[in-house]
Symmetry: C2
Subunit: 237 residues, 2 copies
């Protein structure tokens, strides 16, 4: 989803989480913390937003570096040295190494927190929904949004939309059926499976997917957004 | 990757793992075990093979039910009740519940085994490569193989091949660069990240991807295939 070009990254530390007053799940972590992670990200990316949302929920401070995927800043030699797959989000750790793939970063940051269940099968079910998200949802919910936002009406990529949206509706129908009896995707509580699926689902309309036929999805979106410490996608760290 | 239709599933228990002589990692697990899992699978599926390979490595017995994805057996109401996403592999647990997504099933079965590292960052790196596999590799390495095997030369789906294969080569190049300094993908040893990536990479040529330009990938393929208790994709359980 990135094109060639260069762009100087913007660096800013997410000061707002530094020792901010804690509430919600992680009150115990409200002691003053220094950022140990750097998140390479793009504000409008749902995949990047997953990490920003989790960090807000668990009060994890981080440095935030915006990388302009529209001008190819993820395809420079400098960025490819961080992530050879040329994608954001990419997390830089305090030892200078890097971790890629939004859902792997979620897992890394959430291990030991209430956002990953302890029970073996529930943990696997969290992964089941996160793999569903990357294989059966993201290409059909996120990519149409990207095409509609960033490609002109006469771009050949517009021709991809009907088939992608059809598969996007299939993914939403699966989610809606599951949420008919569940408040959250796994173990009856808010986990990183919800975070992974929320990221692009709540803005699916921007890609041309009307959420009206999926009432359980809409109720779940409101439920996620009402959780303590929630932050919206468009909020710059 | 499945089409409409019906097909009666074939049921067979994987007797060969039942109390078979153990060697390799799981010698301690060689005591007689009864199958507690049922794997819904299709022999030629690399995603299904991931599970068969892990179960062979850890000497886990299971019942094996072949579901013919070519005649739509994964789209029947009966199968959709097991996995609403209509895909194999799907694992049935002893409590009658189901777990989907090949890489989530790998994680579930391998937790507590040497095939998932204990260290937090290594665990996340295993997931990083498994998400890479599903998002940046499987659609471009596995799907071309499926198209070439199952669609006629004049099918519109053949038109997908050039772009898919281009992205497949990009995925193989990323793997090859990583393996230039590593024997396995994570933590210097054989993990489920290798199993996930091996499944379709070692038959990439069947989809039109020549592995000659990727010498480290070829060496790694031979290394995986030489591990104790290895089974080939085409071996029926």
């Amino acid at each position: 989803m990135e094109r060639e070009g260069t762009s100087a990254p913007r660096r800013r530390v997410c000061e707002s989480w530094r020792g901010g007053a804690a509430s919600g799940y992680f009150g115990a972590l409200s002691t003053r913390k220094t950022a140990v992670f750097t998140l390479y990200d793009y504000l409008d990316s749902g995949n990047g937003y997953k990490i920003r949302l989790l960090c807000a929920l668990v009060n994890e401070p981080y440095r935030w570096v915006e990388v302009d995927i529209l001008t190819g800043a993820t395809r420079t030699p400098q960025f490819l040295a961080k992530n050879p797959n040329g994608r954001i989000p990419t997390l830089e750790l305090d030892d200078g190494s890097f971790l890629a793939e939004s859902n792997a970063i979620l897992w890394y940051l959430a291990e030991g927190s209430p956002f990953i269940p302890n029970e073996r099968l529930s943990r696997a079910r969290v992964l089941q929904w996160m793999f569903f998200e990357q294989y059966s949802h993201e290409p059909y919910v996120a990519t149409p949004r990207f095409i509609k936002k960033h490609f002109p009406a006469d771009s050949p990529r517009q021709a991809e939309l009907p088939k992608r949206l059809q598969q996007g509706r299939a993914a939403l129908a699966i989610m809606d059926a599951h949420l008919n009896k569940e408040d959250f995707f796994v173990a009856g509580r808010y986990t990183i499976a919800d975070i992974a699926l929320y990221a692009y689902t709540h803005v699916a309309d921007e890609g041309g997917l009307d959420l009206a036929p999926y009432p359980n999805v809409r109720t779940w979106i409101a439920r996620v957004a009402s959780q303590p410490r929630h932050v919206p996608l468009e909020r710059r760290p």
